[in-house]
C-alpha cells in the first residue's frame, strides 16, 4: 500500500477530441512525481479530473484503497487531495494571515479573533518554513513567496502521510533561483510523507526535483519511469516522440520582397529580456515559447499595449521609444489579442460596429450613414466568410471562430500592414481554425506582415515562414522555412522545451 492516489484507465473526450486516453498513473507516499507533456497533451485535463472539475468518460481513482467519486471537489478535499493551481488562488489585496484564514469556517464562533488567527498563521508558516511578514498584503510578496504561501494554505489543516499535493505548473513564472527555494519546501514535505504531483514542462526542473516522471503525449501516458539515469535528451524524445520523416505540405510560396515593415531592437519588458526581430512584407512570423519565456508578453509589448522597459521599435522609418495602441494603429499595425471576450471584440456591439471600429466613417463627411456602414461591413464579412445577414446581430452571439474572423475583417478593412495575433485560434474548433488560416493567408498574399504568437506548435509549423523560439526571455532559435519543413513540430517542440542546444543538435542531424 505504497500508493496514496491511483488513477486507472482515465479517458476523457471533448466532442470528437480525446484529451485523455486510458491514462493510468499513481502517486506514492513521500515521492515527487512529475507529470510531463507538451501543450495539449492532456496534463491539465488529468489534474482537473482529479480535482472534480471534469468527469471522465471512464476510468477509476482510488485514494488509499477506497474509490474516489468523480466530479466532486468536496470528496477530493475530504480524501486529503490538495491542489495548487497555476494562478495560486490567493487574494492579492489581503494579508498573509487573511489569506491563510480564507475559506475556513468560523462556525460556533461569535467573535473572530485576530490574535487567534495570527497565532495559527504563524504556526503554519513556521511549520512550512516560510519567512514572510504575516501582516503584509500578498501583492507585496515575491512570486516564490506567494507560491509557498499557496502551499502553506493547501496544508493548513495539517498534513499526514495520506495526503496528496498536486501542483499545476507552479514554476511557470519563477526564475531559476526562486525555483530552488520552492523545491526545498516541496522536498521537505515529501520527506514528511506527503505524495507530491508536479505538472510542468520545464525539463531541467523536473529532472532535478522529481523521483519519477510520467509523460503524456496526445492524451496517452507513453512512459512512467524513475528519473535516475534519465537524461534531458531522452526526456525530450519521450515528450515529442520519435521524429517522423513526413514533410508538412505547404500551399504558399514565400513572397520575395525585401521591404521591412517592422523592426524591433532589444525589446525588454516583463519576462522578456531581449527581443530583436524584423518583419518583411507578406511574411508570416511565428513566436513560440513556454509559459514564462516572455511569450505571453510579446504581443502586448509589440503594439504598445504595455509599456516596455527598454529597446525600441521602428515603424515606417520612425524609431519609437514608447508606443500606445492608437499610435501603432495609425501606423497600420493591428493587434488581435488572445482574450477575445474582453480585449478584442465589443460583445454588445453589432457585427457592423465591430468591423468598423478601427476606422469609423462613411462616404459623406459629417454624417455617419448607418446604411452605408451596413453595406460596407457586409462586404468585409463576406471576405472572411461570415454570414453577412448577421450584420446587425450582437457579436457575442457568434462562435469563437466567427468572432475571430470578424476581428480579422476589422483589420483587413482598416488596411493593416502588420497584424500581431496572439493565440489566434485559441478555443476555436477545427473547421473554424482552417477558415481563420485562410483569412490570414489571404492577408499575407496581399503583403500584410503577420506575427503569430502561439502555443500550438502544429499551427506555427504549418502557417509560418519563420518561427522565433523564446527561451528564458530571449530568442533561443530562429527556425526558417527549411528547418520547419525538415523538422516539423518535433524540432520546434524540442527548441521550445529546452532552448537552442537541444534543437541545434537535432537540426544538425537533418
Amino acid at each position: 500500500m505504497n500508493n496514496v492516489l491511483k488513477l486507472e484507465g482515465v479517458t476523457k473526450s471533448f466532442g470528437a477530441y480525446k484529451a485523455l486516453d486510458d491514462v493510468s498513473v499513481d502517486f506514492r507516499r513521500g515521492e515527487v512525481h512529475g507529470i510531463l507533456g507538451v501543450n495539449g497533451s492532456g496534463k491539465s485535463t488529468l489534474l482537473k479530473c482529479v480535482a472534480g472539475y471534469h468527469v471522465p468518460d471512464s476510468g477509476k481513482a482510488f485514494v488509499s484503497g477506497s474509490e474516489l467519486p468523480w466530479g466532486s471537489p468536496e470528496a477530493a478535499a475530504k480524501h486529503g487531495i490538495r491542489f495548487i493551481h497555476q494562478d495560486l488562488g490567493l487574494v492579492n489585496e489581503l494579508s498573509v494571515i487573511d489569506n491563510l484564514a480564507l475559506g475556513t469556517t468560523y462556525e460556533g464562533r461569535a467573535w473572530i479573533s485576530d490574535r487567534r488567527e495570527r497565532k495559527r498563521a504563524l504556526q503554519l508558516l513556521r511549520q512550512v518554513g516560510i519567512d514572510v511578514d504575516p501582516l503584509a498584503p500578498v501583492s507585496q510578496l515575491t512570486k516564490t513567496e506567494q507560491t509557498m504561501l499557496a502551499v502553506a494554505r493547501a496544508m493548513r489543516n495539517g498534513f499526514s502521510e495520506n495526503d496528496v499535493l498536486l501542483l499545476d505548473e507552479p514554476t511557470a513564472s519563477l526564475s531559476s533561483g526562486e525555483v530552488r527555494i520552492l523545491f526545498e519546501l516541496l522536498r521537505s514535505l515529501s520527506r514528511r510523507g506527503v505524495a507530491i504531483g508536479f505538472v510542468s514542462h520545464r525539463l531541467r526542473e523536473v529532472l532535478e526535483i522529481c523521483d519519477r516522471v510520467s509523460v503524456l503525449r496526445n492524451g496517452r501516458c507513453v512512459a512512467s519511469r524513475y528519473t535516475d539515469g534519465l537524461s534531458e535528451k531522452e526526456l525530450v524524445d519521450l515528450l515529442v516522440g520519435v521524429p517522423l520523416s513526413e514533410v508538412y505540405g505547404r500551399k504558399k510560396e514565400p513572397v520575395a520582397s525585401p521591404r521591412v515593415l517592422l523592426e524591433v531592437h532589444g525589446l525588454c519588458g516583463g519576462a522578456l529580456h531581449r527581443l530583436d526581430l524584423r518583419l518583411h512584407e507578406g511574411e508570416v512570423l511565428g513566436i513560440a515559447g513556454l509559459d514564462g519565456s516572455g511569450r505571453e508578453q510579446v504581443s502586448r509589448l509589440l503594439v504598445g499595449a504595455d509599456a516596455w522597459e527598454s529597446g525600441h521599435i521602428v515603424l515606417d522609418g520612425k524609431t519609437f521609444d514608447r508606443l500606445n495602441p492608437d499610435v501603432t494603429v495609425q501606423h497600420k499595425v493591428a493587434y488581435v489579442p488572445a482574450d477575445r471576450k474582453s480585449h478584442s471584440i465589443l460583445p454588445g456591439f453589432s457585427l457592423r460596429e465591430n468591423v468598423t471600429l478601427a476606422r469609423i466613417g462613411t462616404r459623406r463627411k459629417g454624417w455617419l450613414s448607418i446604411r452605408d456602414e451596413k453595406r460596407d461591413s457586409a462586404h468585409w464579412l463576406d471576405r472572411v466568410h461570415v454570414d453577412q445577414r448577421n450584420v446587425e446581430l450582437p457579436i457575442s452571439l457568434l462562435s469563437g471562430g466567427n468572432q475571430q474572423r470578424v476581428v480579422i475583417a476589422r483589420w483587413l478593412r482598416f488596411g493593416a500592414r502588420v497584424m500581431v495575433l496572439d493565440e489566434p485560434t485559441q478555443g476555436v474548433d477545427v473547421a473554424g481554425r482552417s477558415a481563420i488560416y485562410d483569412c490570414l493567408s489571404d492577408a499575407s498574399r496581399v503583403g500584410t506582415g503577420l506575427i503569430i504568437v502561439s502555443t500550438d506548435s502544429e499551427e506555427l509549423v504549418s502557417v509560418c515562414d519563420r518561427v522565433l523560439v523564446l527561451f528564458e526571455g530571449r530568442v533561443a532559435l530562429d527556425l526558417d522555412r527549411d528547418a520547419l519543413l525538415a523538422g516539423g513540430t518535433h524540432v520546434l517542440d524540442r527548441a521550445i522545451l529546452s532552448g537552442a542546444n537541444q534543437a541545434e543538435g537535432v537540426t544538425g542531424a537533418y
Binding site: 503594439v303 499595449a305 495602441p325 492608437d326 501603432t328 494603429v329 495609425q330 493587434y335 489579442p337 474582453s342 480585449h343 478584442s344 471584440i345 465589443l346 460583445p347 454588445g348 456591439f349 460596429e353 468598423t356 471600429l357 478601427a358 469609423i360 466613417g361 459629417g366 454624417w367 455617419l368 450613414s369 448607418i370 476589422r410
Partner: protein, 318 residues
Amino acid sequence: MHRVADKLEFRRLSGLYILALFILIFALWIPDTFLRVSTLKNILTAQSITGVLSVGLVCAMAAGAFDLSFAQAAGTGSILAAILTASFHMNVVLTVVIVIAFGAVVGVVNSLLVNRIGLSSIVATLGTSSVLLAIDERLTNENYIAGIPRSFVTAVNGTIIGIPEVVIIMVAVVLLGWYVMVHTPPGRRMYATGHSSEAARLAGVRTSRSILYGFLASGLAAGVAGVMLLGVVGTGDPTAGPSYLLPVFAALFLGSTQVHPGRFNVWGTVIGIFLLGVGVQGLQLAGYSDQWISDLFNGVALLLATAFAVRNRTVSAH
C-alpha cells in the same frame, strides 16, 4: 412592410405604448383638464431642463463616465447667472456664454481627475459636486437671490411663435445629442469606450479623449440647463439644481431599455422623460399633487421598467 414592423417592435418601444396608454387613461379619467393644449405645453416646459441635462448625461454615461456632478453644476450655473445679472448687471448674451463656459470647465476638470489622476468617475464627480455645492452655498449664504432683471427672464422664458423657448432649446439639444452619438465617429468611439474600454483602446480608440468628450457634453448641458433654470424659476434658488439628479438618472436608465436596449441613448431617454412627465402631470391634474406621489411614481416606474428589461434579457439569453 417588414422594416416598419421591425421598427415598431414592442420590446424596443414598449415605453411608447405605455405612454399612449397613460394618455388614454388620463383622457378618459379627466378629459376636461387633461385634453388641452396648455397641458401639453406644461408637460413640455416642465421637462425641458430634465431633457437638456439627460442628453448631456447620455453622452457621459455612454463613454463610461459616471457623472454625478451635472445637477449641482446646473444649480451652481444658475446661481452664477443670477449673480452676474442681478449684482453685476451683465447683459444676457455675455451671461449665457460665461455660464456655459463654466459648465465646460466643470466637465474638463472632471475628465482631468479621471484621465490624468486616475480616479474612478463616481468618486471624482462626487468630489466636484460637493465642491460646487460649497461654492453655491458660499455665494448665496443659502438664501434666494432676487432681483433678476426682467430682460433676462423674458429672454429665456419667452415664446417663439407660441412655443416656449425652453422647449425649443430642448429639442435642439436632443437633435444635436442624437446626431453626435449616432451619426458621428466620435459618438461611436464614446460608446465603444464605455462598452469595453480595453478592447476599444487596443483597437486604436483614444479612450481618454472619449471620456473628455463625455464629461464635456454633460458639463455644457449643465451650463445650458443652468441658464434655463434661472429663467424658469426667476430667482437664484440654491436648492433647484440638485433636485434634477434623480429624475435625470431615472429617465436615463428607463431610456436604456428603449429604442436601443442595453445602451444609453437619446431617443430612449426622451421616451423615458415623457413617460414620467405625463404620468406625474396627469396625476397632478387628477388632484394628486403631493410631491411624494410624484416621487413614488418616478421610483416605481423606474424599478418596473428596468426589472422588466433585466428579465427580458435573461430570458432571451437562454
